[in-house]
């Protein structure tokens, strides 16, 4: 019986070991070595790669960008998702259409979404600049101006993510007992205070769930950078995972890429701890 169970686990275990555990351990080890020159064995350098990282101004810029990206995308998409859910949860004419409009961006590949947004951001013929021009303003180089580019990337990400988070809020709203609303109507509570005193606290677990997902995505999803900016101008939109990609596959510095990957793994470990500690205290995994 035990043997049978172990055999059932075997395929998953082998695959997970090959593509998750082994690479994680190898990443940690590689970050402590520098590759040998001309066939020489790799040399152990301890934390030297991390010292390089700490002194790399670009790394700090990229890390700060990622923080700004997270702070820019997460609250905005969560607030929008909540508004969307409240809208389509009520009696709204054309509710199905509205919900579809909100959710459709979720279905698209990030690459396709980025392609579409390139139309809007293009400096000469882009829609945003034409609108500005029609209003008598001069255009902005949305993706080429270092001060604006990260913001442009953030706006597109919010557009892509809000509809996805909406459906979790919508489900949670539908799970709230209607008696609560009836009771508060009897008491004459205003909609505003009903939202803040009843609905919002009840949505807290959903908010945490969405927050965790959004945090992971802020580190993990960089597809749009390949189309929109390639991390530029002058690394103004470069994010951690894109920086890993650049180092490994453009500059062919696998060691340095491994060292940055360790930083990402640390961030994800913090998020995971957060999830297991806060969100799943209600014995989800038992």
């Amino acid at each position: 019986m035990q043997l049978y169970g172990a055999l059932l686990l075997l395929p998953a275990a082998v695959l997970l070991a090959t593509f998750a555990y082994l690479p994680t351990v190898a990443t940690l080890i590689n970050s402590l070595f520098v590759p040998g020159f001309r066939g020489q064995p790799a040399e152990f350098v301890g934390l030297e790669n991390y010292a390089l990282l700490i002194n790399d101004a670009t790394f700090w810029k990229v890390a700060r960008n990622n923080l700004v990206y997270a702070l820019g995308t997460i609250p905005a998409s969560i607030v929008l998702a909540l508004c969307m859910a409240l809208f389509v949860n009520g009696r709204l004419p054309g509710r199905g259409l509205v919900r579809m409009a909100y959710f459709t961006p979720t279905i698209l590949p990030m690459i396709a979404a980025a392609n579409i947004w390139m139309f809007f951001y293009a400096p000469q013929i882009g829609l945003f600049n034409k609108l500005l021009g029609a209003l008598g303003f001069s255009g902005i180089n949305w993706l080429g101006d270092p001060g604006v580019a990260l913001g442009s990337v953030i706006v597109m990400s919010v557009w892509k993510e809000a509809g996805f988070f909406m459906i979790f809020y919508l489900a949670a709203l539908q799970g709230i007992a209607p008696e609560l609303k009836e009771a508060s109507d009897l008491e004459g509570t205003s909609r505003w205070s009903f939202f803040w005193r009843v609905t919002f606290p009840l949505l807290m677990p959903t908010t945490l769930f969405v927050l965790i997902n959004a945090l992971i995505n802020a580190v993990r999803v960089v597809d749009h950078l390949f189309i929109l900016t390639k991390g530029g101008p002058n690394n103004a939109t470069n994010l951690l995972l894109y920086y890993v990609y650049e180092n490994a596959f453009s500059f062919f510095d696998r060691t340095y890429a491994a060292t940055i990957t360790v930083v990402i793994l640390l961030v994800l470990a913090v998020v995971a701890t957060l999830k297991f500690a806060i969100l799943d205290r209600r014995t989800h995994y038992q």
Binding site: A20, T24, T261
Partner: protein, 281 residues
């Protein structure tokens, strides 16, 4: 008292002008769908109209013909189709076995093993691109469709979902099947798998859309037309330095998203419910 007053206000409410909330909801919906509508418009009109927007400019299919001629989209479709069907089939098998083991078998250190599996919910193959690339090339999987899909087959998420579902199936059903003389395999195939159908559907739809849309890992592990999926093909096609015009790029974009988008529009409810089922659990 309240019921009668509600009934009395109903007809009046119906005659009211759209409320501020309705207006806001619709405005947001229009803003949200606008980028897609604009891409649709751009794809069906001559490139000249990209610069001066005219709603009723002449329609054309040239952009699609151009896109189709300039990149091997037929091959990309085939690759994506093979990738998605292969990954989903393999995930179903591997995750069913593991989920079944976790749900119903006494395994020493099961809780620790399960926590180990759940780590993959955070450490995705694309985060480990550097080492995964090394491993894939060691296994001779670079530039193959198997290489794109294999790291995702033992999906922690799938194992988790199926374990949860199997756990909710009453033991009595299993016992009855055992008394009838069913083997473990038969119990799995005749009792557990059929009863978990909704979970398979939900997980399948989420997985299909994820792998149809995935980009970074396929980009890294492929380097030729023979294995590239649609997203990577599109990414290369529409890179600004290739100098392809906007109208053709929007046609290519629509080509790449069309099957998934059409499926979504037809089965909207199932998609939304799948994301929900898979997400909330």
């Amino acid at each position: 008292m309240t019921t009668s007053s509600v009934a009395a206000t109903q007809p009046a409410a119906r005659l009211r002008l759209p409320s501020l909330e309705t207006f806001a909801a619709w405005l947001l919906a229009i803003i949200w769908i606008f980028p897609l509508l604009y891409a649709l418009w751009a794809a069906f009109h001559p490139p000249a109209f990209m610069v001066r927007f005219e709603l009723f400019a002449p329609l054309t299919l040239d952009n699609f013909a151009n896109a189709w001629a300039q990149a091997p989209f037929a091959r990309y479709y085939l690759n994506t189709f093979l990738l998605v069907s292969g990954v989903v089939a393999a995930q179903f098998v591997v995750c069913t076995l593991a989920g079944f083991a976790f749900a119903r078998f006494p395994i020493p250190g099961k809780d620790i093993l399960f926590m180990l599996v759940l780590i993959q919910l955070f450490v995705f193959p694309e985060v480990l691109i550097v080492e995964n690339y090394r491993i894939a090339s060691g296994l001779g999987l670079v530039n193959t469709i198997t290489g794109i899909g294999l790291p995702y087959v033992a999906s922690a998420f799938g194992i988790f979902l199926l374990r949860q579902t199997f756990k909710t199936i009453p033991r009595e059903l299993e016992d009855a099947a055992r008394i009838e003389g069913c083997s473990w395999t038969a119990v799995l195939l005749k009792v557990y798998v059929p009863l978990a159908k909704p979970t398979y559907l939900a997980y399948g739809l989420v997985s299909i859309s994820h792998h149809w849309n995935n980009f970074l890992w396929p980009l890294v592990v492929t380097n030729s037309v023979e294995s590239r999926p649609l997203t990577v093909g599109l990414g290369i096609f529409s890179a600004p330095e290739t100098g392809v015009n906007w109208a053709t790029v929007s046609a290519a974009t629509l080509l790449s998203i069309a099957p998934l988008l059409v499926a979504f529009l037809l089965f909207q409810r199932q998609f939304v419910q799948s994301f929900l089922r898979a997400g909330i659990r």
